[in-house]
């Protein structure tokens, strides 16, 4: 076997900007443009292009566990999509030595009408396993997924935890020479996450090659041998995973690590003016930007705006879960202590004392607007992402854990006297 598993040379991928708006071209557009151009004689507007990846080269040795880190939009997903052969590069070449399995999503191709057993076969086949291989692995998969007696129940009756476990179990038994994993470990309960990480470590120990994209620096540091930092489509660092994490953290400590530039952000609807300039998340005491906070922390959001001459009445922040559900909304108009309007350049501070969010991944939507009429003048979706980790919210020494619901709620308990006397 070759000592090299993957060789990436001068890889580039160009996208057309505005493709998102044009992709549902209809024949009518085509016809209208065609007819129109006969009369207008105008030059067709040149498409703006941007390079999601540019001149990326690296080699991955067999048995190496490579962690790929970078900000949102740095090109990580594009790189994975090219390596998984989902999309085709614009320039460059990739040589892959050995069988490659990629896991960009858990449960790709699962059909809710089919039973667990049927989905194992379907999903396995989609990921490139042969039927004989699935037959051989079936017991191991069922064991790993802990679905046992529900094997012949349609997966639509499964709890979301069971569903995810089954999906990961199939992928984990793919046994490719090279495994590509995209942060699918952010799902499932803590115990199962641990099991998945263990499985990946095991895969690596067997001498297989793993490429792993994650936002969790701790995971990259623990699991990976090598780290690749992507920035704006290019390789900004290549080295040991520890050095890569250090490089990443220092390079972006003031950018997108609990801070996001919103002046030109894809989460803004096309017709909105860019009034909101940035959003930051700080730990209230230390004052540094954070993208990881703890349940029970005091935290502060900062919204910087430039409204020009426009006078605005409110600013609001919606907190969404990783599933896109609104968890809570805070706003100046919802704060009894805030009076006043704002305009020009400035910063609004929003303090959240004793954070009640439970552990998980969250994303913010930020909006500012007027009361008459009540409408958002500017709003940015998915403006900032952050992670909440288990913390001692109640001051009892017991941490609020994953899977304990959507928010922490203080409660007072006592043993009712009558009952206790009866027991005695």
């Amino acid at each position: 076997m070759s000592p090299i598993a993957i060789r990436v040379a001068q890889l580039g991928k160009k996208y057309q900007i505005g493709a998102a708006r044009r992709r549902h071209d209809t024949l009518r557009d085509r016809l209208v443009h065609g007819v129109g151009s006969m009369f207008r004689r105008s030059e067709p507007t040149p498409l703006e292009t941007f390079w999601a990846l540019r001149d990326v080269s690296f080699d991955v040795q067999r048995g190496e566990v490579l962690g790929i880190i970078g900000r949102n939009g740095a090109g990580k997903s594009t790189l994975l999509k090219i390596l998984s052969r989902i999309t085709v590069p614009t320039t460059g070449q990739v040589d892959i030595y050995g069988r490659l399995g990629s896991l960009l999503e858990v449960g790709t191709g699962f059909n809710s009408e089919l039973t667990g057993r049927e989905n194992i076969y379907l999903n396995g086949a989609i990921m490139g396993m042969r039927k004989a291989e699935i037959d051989r692995q079936l017991d191991a998969i069922v064991d790993f997924a802990e679905v046992g007696v529900f094997l012949d129940t349609p997966v639509k009756k499964y709890s979301s935890g069971m569903y995810v476990r089954l999906a990961f179990a199939v992928a984990a038994h793919l046994n490719p020479d090279i495994l590509i994993v995209d942060e699918v470990l952010a799902v499932g309960d803590a115990a199962f996450q641990k099991k998945c990480l263990g499985k990946m470590g095991h895969v690596a120990k067997e001498g297989r090659t793993v490429l792993f994209v994650s936002h969790s620096m701790a995971t990259v540091q623990n699991l990976c041998t090598t780290g690749l930092v992507l920035d704006k489509g290019g390789v900004s660092f290549w080295g040991s995973s520890g050095d890569a994490v250090a490089h990443y953290v220092s390079a972006i400590s003031r950018h997108d690590f609990g801070w996001a530039d919103l002046s030109d952000h894809p989460g803004r609807a096309g017709d909105m003016p860019s009034l909101i300039q940035s959003i930051a998340l700080r730990a209230a005491d230390a004052g540094t930007f954070r993208d990881t906070i703890t349940t029970g922390d005091d935290v502060t959001f900062e919204i910087s705006y430039d409204t020009g001459s426009l006078e605005l009445d409110y600013a609001a922040i919606g907190v969404n879960s990783h599933l896109g559900e609104r968890v809570c909304t805070v706003g100046t108009h919802l704060s009894p202590g805030f009076h006043g309007r704002f305009r020009g350049k400035g910063t609004l501070e929003c303090r959240l004392p004793h954070l009640a969010l439970t552990p998980g991944e969250y994303s913010l939507i930020v909006a500012i607007g007027t009361n008459l009429p009540r409408r958002n003048v500017d709003a940015v979706d998915d403006a900032l992402r952050f992670r909440v980790e288990p913390g001692d919210y109640y001051g009892t020494g017991e941490k609020v854990l994953y899977g304990q619901g959507h928010f922490a709620q203080r409660s007072d308990w006592r043993l009712a006297r009558e009952a206790s006397q009866m027991l005695a």
Partner: protein, 273 residues
Amino acid sequence: MNPTVVIRPSRGTFDLDLISLYRSWELLYFLVWRDVKVRYKQTFLGVAWAVLQPVITMLLFTAVFGRLAGLDSNGIPYPVFALIALVPWMYFSQAVGRASTSVVNNAGLVTKVYFPRLAIPISAVLAPLVDLIAGLGIVVVLLAWYRIVPGWSVVALPFLVLLCAGTALAVSLWMCALCVKYRDVGIVVPFLLQCWLWVSPVAYSLNAVPAKWRLLYGLNPMVGVIEGFRWAFAGTAAPDMTLIAASSLVVVLLLVGGTVYFKHTEQTFADLV
């Protein structure tokens, strides 16, 4: 050692990579099996639908075209005449209808995992064969009812089914590659199929078409398929061999063109879908 896989910007026009499609025949099998299974899983009448639809349509056709309009039916009872044509037609219409939107409907797969993309439309065209087989069962029952014994011509059936499936696949390849870019296709296809029904000899006989138009008419591959089915089952006049040849040629051209076009556009599927 040579790399197992080389990923490069664009491949040649005729690099169809049919070998990897052949290698994933098991995937094809599972996709077909999924389509068949899921389709009837939550329906009350289940597979009975595969029988009811052609039978009811046959009754309507018999009432309207056989009795009211009194159309010529090549000397066989009109119900037999209609049903033999309806079974391949309904297969064709179902296969094209489903396969045309198949890539778009499987966007979740296309953007998340690699496998030969051709497997998607091919499986969508193969799945309704189950209905076709059920339909052929009713044809046999109806033939027995009318005491019609098919001659040796029935051995041509597999070829005719292949021609029919080939036609469906050829049209679908074009449509589903176009559909990724132009969603209009999802609206156009049902309408196209509706028109297609009337330019195929389903309700009427090929004899009703003036002789000088026959060759042009024969460019519609379903003409050869349907006339062939009637000949195979009910022993009507053997279809004109030039007609079958014309149909087959059109199918082969459409199929090759469709495959090349599909392979050419599939590289952008994940970016567009």
